[in-house]
């Protein structure tokens, strides 16, 4: 005879305890304090979780107003994080660095960059458009001859994903959120609602509403409930490297070849995503990737990196949204109407987690968004095959 654990009952069950799920839990407990909230997270060490493998960047340089608004809220949240999230017994520390973001583009992309800046400013962001000579003046190590210019957002920056995740998780737990260490392996549903989850350990979790925040694993979770979620694991590398010769302190630089890196300690941290690679749960590190792919791009843009040396490479998964690169946030209104999704952040999950978490909590509590309107990021666009693409991702 096997022992079956008793069912766990809560009001809001969140699948995935990374930064997105933890932010949903924190805001749910803030907005609906009476609700019992539980988070199902298989690994308290977060070994493979995308959150802890992220570079920590937060930027307003998007074209979609939802993304810009989510970033503005996220940056504000992270900037004030240490004050608002510290507990009497334990300080929270997100290690926010307001280092700025710098997008640099070839001449034929300048119009798009300037258009995006107009949108970003209209949402309240500070954006400085820089000519090649202005770029050279600010950042002497950049090779600007083939550039049309750049956009600098000085209030962007980066934080420590570990400090952010654990700060949110501990705060959520202090408010009464329960973290269950287990895998979701099954679901039971009525015709129009998820009724319960089955966990690998044998327990059953019943809840009034369910939130899929399983990141790179979110399509698997959705599949257990008969939902087709076009989100795939996409491997990317982050490298820590040094220049070899002195280089001025750099903001988070992104160029049109998808090179993205920033200062980190005495060196630099960044990578170059290959969006065309085969999708899958693959963490194997190609130690030649820096030498073959990243270094040529860095050395072209920053000749001072000719003698760059890569000290460490690690892999992590994007939860890539295959429809249009934008996240899927909202309620499955056409079928299992108590199932909410916050997934497919495509590399922007950490910076957008606070806003997405608050949005889901609002939707659950009020039936509609109260602050940032994320209606256009809903699952309906998947059902209608109507991509809503972000144009500003370089």
């Amino acid at each position: 005879m096997t022992m079956t654990p008793p069912p766990t009952q809560c009001d809001i069950a969140i699948i995935g305890g990374g930064i997105v799920g933890s932010c949903v839990a924190y805001f749910a407990k803030t907005i609906t304090p009476d609700a019992e909230v539980c988070v199902i997270e298989p690994d308290p060490s977060y070994e493979w979780a995308s959150t802890l493998r992220a570079s920590g960047g937060c930027r307003v340089q998007f074209t979609g107003v939802e993304n810009i608004d989510m970033s503005l809220f996220g940056i504000d949240f992270i900037r004030n994080f240490d004050q608002t999230m510290s507990l009497p017994e334990r300080e929270a520390n997100a290690e926010w660095v307001e280092g700025g973001y710098l997008f640099i583009v070839p001449p034929d992309r300048m119009h798009a960059l300037e258009d995006a800046a107009v949108t970003q400013r209209s949402r309240g962001a500070v954006v400085d458009i820089l000519s090649p000579s202005e770029l050279k003046q600010r950042f002497p190590s950049i090779h600007v001859d083939d550039l049309g210019g750049g956009a600098l957002t000085p209030h962007d920056g980066w934080c420590d994903p570990y400090g952010l995740l654990w700060g949110v998780r501990r705060k959520a737990q202090s408010l009464g959120v329960a973290y269950l260490q287990d895998h979701v392996v099954g679901a039971q549903a009525s015709p129009f609602a998820v009724r319960s989850l089955r966990l690998a350990g044998g327990a059953t979790v019943t809840a009034s509403v369910f939130v899929n925040a399983a990141g790179a694993w979110s399509a698997k979770i959705a599949g257990l409930m008969g939902m087709n979620l076009p989100v795939s694991p996409l491997k990317r590398y982050e490298h820590y490297f040094t220049a070899g010769t002195p280089v001025e302190r750099l903001p988070y630089v992104k160029d049109y070849a998808r090179l993205a890196f920033r200062s980190e300690g005495n060196g630099f941290s960044g990578g170059l995503v290959d969006g065309s690679i085969k999708r899958g749960f693959d963490f194997e590190v190609d130690h030649l990737y820096f030498e073959d792919i990243v270094w040529p791009a860095v050395a072209h843009r920053f000749p001072a990196f000719e003698a760059a040396k890569c000290h460490r490479t690690w892999s992590g998964l994007y939860e890539q949204s295959e429809l249009d690169g934008n996240p899927i946030i909202g309620r499955w209104s056409s079928k299992l109407t108590n199932l909410y999704t916050a997934a497919g952040f495509s590399g922007h999950g950490m910076m957008h987690a606070p806003a997405a978490g608050r949005a889901i909590a609002e939707l659950i509590a009020f039936g509609k968004y109260q602050t940032i309107d994320l209606t256009r990021l809903g699952y309906e666009r998947v059902e209608q095959n109507a991509p809503y693409a972000e144009m500003g991702i370089l």
């Binding site: 009476d34 015709p191 609602a193 079928k335 509590a365 009020f366």
Partner: protein, 132 residues
């Protein structure tokens, strides 16, 4: 003209399981259970606070079977008023049937639950919503 709705038909899979659920889980009163031809029964249940009764009609063909739990295609089908939301919400929690968390709307405090077949019900307390 002055009409009143006395009963609304709810298609069910089985008389006895439906009677048991509405009388035990929701505390409805069994108003009538009269045998009819061919195993059919005339079964009416109603909440003790008044309003229309439900006529529990057993599905007798594939179309009716398909309608069990789906008479409104996932829309809220029934509106159950209470004079004490917090009390009744707490009492019904054990049913484990809620599919939303309570919220305040202009018309009152409301939460959605599903009955044994998946039909949707609002539990409502009218008036200006108060946090319970």
């Amino acid at each position: 003209m002055k009409f009143g709705i006395t009963a609304v038909t709810l298609v069910v899979r089985d008389y006895d399981e439906a009677i048991a659920w509405y009388t035990q889980a929701l505390g409805f009163e069994l108003l009538e259970d009269t045998p009819m031809d061919a195993g059919k029964r005339w079964v009416r249940v109603a909440p003790r606070g008044g309003g229309s009764a439900l006529l529990l009609a057993r599905a007798a063909n594939p179309a009716q079977e398909a309608a069990v739990g789906a008479q409104t295609g996932g829309r809220v089908a029934f509106f159950l008023h209470t004079d004490d939301f917090a009390r009744d919400y707490a009492a019904l929690k054990a049913m484990d049937a809620f599919v939303s968390v309570p919220r305040d709307e202009p018309y009152g405090r409301v939460v959605v639950f599903e009955d044994l077949y998946g039909n949707r019900w609002d539990l409502i307390q009218s008036g200006s919503g108060t946090s319970a």
